[in-house]
């Protein structure tokens, strides 16, 4: 018989007492925090409030009492409604396209080594850092050069172009943090490439994909500068509001803004709660 080693029994590790101490926050910090929150929320609060303003003038700047009139007559101004529908459909389509292409690009950049990877990263970075005014102007001259009529389609193309980099970058950050062995484990257990992607890779990068999609939607729906250059005769929600400021912005704009904001809040709360649950 060979007895190989007889280690003296290791001493049990000393119990590390978790030293999480609560510190009393000074009152100054409370005040500072409240001020900051107020500063962030005040403009939004005013927008919401004036959606309930019973105004009779063309301008909506003075409080004249509470009403739900503007909610009932939300779609009375047909050109405003068209603008909103344009903005929403462009944002949805652009989000759909950028999420698919951007996710694939992010996967490739985060996972693989390939010729042209450095250039791709550089182009993405440039797309993010390029001033909007420059991008808008150059898009316009490009569309003019190629003799493309400006309108709905060119807006969509432009929006896809400037938001794709954001999706790619968020997804790439997620992919880089993944253990490649997890996908290998899926393959080892009999999953082919498509199953592997559907059941393992995609769910794992999903938080990145969702964040990228939300970012892309938000970027598209309120874009003014680039849209202004590429819109031709098509009017979007931001363009309509900008145009209306000269004659007076109707309270419906406040209501629509409130509704868009509410949807955003709901999405943010839901996704925060989901990620909280997933991390437990």
């Amino acid at each position: 018989m060979t007895t190989l080693t007889t280690d003296p029994a290791p001493a049990p590790p000393a119990d590390p007492a978790p030293a999480v101490r609560r510190r009393r926050r000074p009152a100054v910090l409370h005040v500072y925090t409240l001020l900051l929150i107020a500063w962030l929320i005040l403009p939004i609060a005013i927008m919401i409030l004036f959606g309930f303003n019973d105004t009779h003038s063309k301008q909506n700047f003075r409080w004249e009492g509470f009403t739900l009139r503007w909610y009932v007559h939300l779609f009375d101004k047909s050109d405003l409604t068209t603008a909103l529908v344009n903005s929403l459909t462009i944002a949805l389509l652009s989000t759909l396209i950028t999420t698919v292409i951007g996710t694939l690009a992010g996967l490739a950049l985060g996972r693989h080594r390939f010729r042209g990877k450095g250039v791709t990263n550089l182009v993405l970075f440039m797309a993010i850092s390029c001033p909007e005014i420059v991008m808008g102007a150059s898009l316009l001259s490009m569309f003019v050069t190629f003799n493309l009529p400006r309108g709905y389609l060119t807006i969509l193309v432009a929006h896809v172009m400037f938001s794709i980099a954001f999706v790619a970058v968020t997804v790439r950050a997620r992919v880089v943090g993944l253990d490649p062995a997890v996908e290998e484990a899926a393959q080892d257990l009999g999953a082919g490439p498509w199953t592997r992607f559907r059941l393992v890779t995609l769910p794992m990068i999903m938080p990145g994909v969702v964040a990228g999609a939300l970012l892309s939607f938000v970027l598209s729906i309120d874009d003014f500068v680039i849209t202004n250059f590429t819109s031709g005769a098509t009017v979007t929600f931001p363009l309509w509001i900008y145009g209306s400021t000269r004659t007076g912005t109707p309270p419906q704009v406040n209501v629509m803004g409130t509704l868009i904001f509410a949807v955003g809040v709901v999405i943010a709360v839901v996704s925060a709660r989901r990620s909280l649950r997933a991390s437990r």
Partner: protein, 383 residues
């Protein structure tokens, strides 16, 4: 700890198609324009039901070898056969082996149950059977009742067992484990070693176990392949490898061993005799037909626990070397003596503290070291 005997070669009637067979396998990686030879020619037959270990220092090519068996890397040259079928070029998802990754690689977004059921679902096993097999497997790895947890809610040891269950539930032809206990602390690791061995006996599946921990390999394996720089230095049972190290590398890597060397004075039958210092004398049995000429230098190794230490010249039949004690280390169950021989070699001696109440020698003492000739092993020249 229970003593495990090497499993006798099973004589099945079909006569031993090896579970895994590597012939002339090489792998070179292209890294930044340079070629790195990770595996430089490995031949292996791993028998059905065997607990086989690949042991070697970090970077010697163990993982690469294992990944070629699993199908994640294709060999640059050579063939891989599983149960006689040539699988070279077959992707991992169509090989009948499963792997346990060092990082566990559990699916973080799935429950323990879904993790373990993953492989069965891919193969279209009926729902009821999946439920039954996953449940049974979770019981084997002692995780019953934790089916609905997410991997992140489990301890390291539990995650490790989920990874094991996830692979074993598919009843693979062979299970490949790449340093599976590397991330666990010492106590848990020792417990899991015993556990793994029990599970392997219970399920009767071939285990290929990669480790750089010699103690782990020695306790668990039926056979061990010691690897160094992309080659197998020695292949044998733990006892063979420990007691008869074939090369200087193996002697140095496994356990503590004393390397001695000297010129062959005479050849007495199948033994070479080396005169060592003024009146020292070492006999070395010659194996495998090695025949050094008189005057040639021969290196040999003696395990520290085979050596006796004492004040007097040993009897004639024994090997004897003079030396001076340089250090005495008391370890409770045993005492270690460091001795510098008259020829200047440093030798370590382990003595059990079974009978002696006091140390046999103290620092500075002049002593004789002695051992039986059959415990001297001539080893190949250093590569």
């Amino acid at each position: 700890m229970t003593e495990t005997q090497p499993a006798p070669a099973r004589d099945d009637p079909g006569r031993a198609v090896p579970a895994i067979e590597l012939t002339g396998v090489r792998k070179a990686y292209d890294a930044f324009g340079e070629t790195v030879a990770a595996v430089r020619g490995v031949d292996l037959d791993i028998a059905q039901g065997e607990f086989f270990s690949l042991l070697g220092p970090s970077g010697c090519g163990k993982t690469t070898t294992m990944r070629m068996i699993a199908g994640f890397e294709e060999p640059t040259a050579g063939r891989v056969r599983l149960h006689g079928r040539d699988v070279t070029g077959v992707p991992a998802n169509r090989r009948d082996v499963n792997m346990v990754f060092q990082s566990y690689a559990l699916f973080p977004h799935m429950s323990v149950f879904d993790n373990v059921a993953f492989g069965l679902r891919r193969r279209g096993v009926p729902k009821d059977e999946i439920k039954e097999r996953v449940g049974a497997m979770l019981d084997i790895v002692d995780l019953g009742g934790r089916e609905r947890r997410r991997p992140a809610a489990l301890s390291g040891g539990q995650q490790q067992r989920v990874a094991l269950a996830r692979a074993l539930v598919n009843r693979p032809r062979a299970l490949l484990l790449d340093e599976p206990l590397g991330a666990l602390d010492l106590k848990l690791r020792q417990a899991m070693q015993v556990e793994l061995k029990r599970i392997q006996r219970e399920v009767g599946i071939t285990f290929v176990y990669v480790t750089h921990d010699q103690g782990e390999a020695l306790t668990m394996s039926d056979r061990i392949a010691v690897m160094n720089e992309g080659l197998i230095e020695q292949l044998g049972s733990p006892r063979e490898i420990y007691e008869h190290p074939a090369t200087r590398f193996v002697a140095g890597f496994i356990g503590t061993s004393n390397l001695l060397g000297g010129e062959v004075g005479e050849l007495a039958g199948d033994r070479a005799v080396i005169s060592f210092g003024p009146d020292g004398r070492i006999e070395v049995p010659l194996r495998d037909g090695t025949r050094p000429a008189a005057g040639e230098r021969l290196e040999l190794t003696v395990r520290p626990e085979k050596i006796c230490i004492g004040p007097d010249k040993p009897a004639d039949g024994l090997c004897g070397v003079r030396g001076t004690v340089t250090e005495v280390v008391y370890l409770g169950t045993s005492t270690n003596y460091n001795v510098t021989t008259s020829a200047g070699d440093d030798v370590v001696v382990f003595l059990q503290n079974a009978t002696s109440a006091e140390d046999i020698a103290v620092r500075g003492d002049s002593v004789w070291l002695s051992w039986e000739p059959r415990h001297s092993y001539a080893i190949g020249a250093a590569r």
